[in-house]
Symmetry: C2
Subunit: 152 residues, 2 copies
């Protein structure tokens, strides 16, 4: 088992960071503009990605397992690339001075294949988009996300 | 044992990416401006970091274990934060169409502590700086690096 781990500190209130993680509208503003479904415990969120030209390039269905206001959001992947199915994505939050700290984990990868390396870099980019959303009011969700290479 | 893994694709020749990784001048242009020492097998590189105000905030001494032109660079941490000592940092390169692919690994962490989460995000940022250096001629090495939070 291998994990993707990240940590960002966001200059802004925990409540704003939580809102960006725990609501459909929030996720659509930093991860992917095409986010559908219901963000409630037991609910399903459907994240879809497109090229800038508008071609769909797949996505993920995530079951919302935990929503603890100001503290934690936990999703589990139900549909998507084979490597993602069954993995869990969590965001643990806490205040530290002026910062809201986000500890991110994408756990349960069966192997540390090349695709996992790519996803690790890409999650960092999206967490920076989340940071930007809370700090400036504007994220860079797909399809306006920063590209990290030939895989997109 | 836990690992930090990343993958970036850089639009540029392998030889340029390798030069940026395998030379002191290269590393100084994407990781930290204060890079000293000799990049040769068995040599030692000293990476030091400063705040934008010029205060030193530590760094790493790395032994150069492997330099395979156009293919691989491997360092081992000899001095630095306790969590880093003994860990290995590798860059595996290959051509894929117009892209030079960099598979990055920072291996041998004893535990997945919060500091490791931070370093994972930060490595992604520095690999994007490497990408920018090769693609545009300009990286964002420390102390001009992108901040990811309260730890810097």
């Amino acid at each position: 088992m291998a994990d993707i781990l990240h940590r960002v500190g966001i200059k802004g209130p925990l409540s704003e960071v939580y809102k960006a993680l725990a609501t459909r509208e929030g996720a659509a503003a930093w991860w992917t503009g095409n986010t559908q479904g219901e963000s409630k415990p037991g609910g399903m969120l459907k994240f879809r990605f497109h090229t800038r030209e508008g071609n769909e390039i797949g996505g993920f269905d995530m079951k919302v397992l935990e929503l603890q206001p100001g503290r934690r959001v936990l999703w589990q992947v139900v549909e998507g690339p084979a490597e993602w199915i069954g993995t869990k994505v969590s965001f643990d939050l806490r205040q530290e001075g002026d910062y809201s700290i986000v500890l991110f984990k994408h756990q349960g990868w069966k192997e540390a294949a090349e695709f996992m390396h790519h996803c690790s870099t890409k999650w960092a980019i999206f967490l920076m988009s989340l940071k930007s959303l809370v700090e400036t009011g504007k994220g860079q969700p797909s399809p306006e996300d920063v590209t990290v290479g030939d895989w997109h």
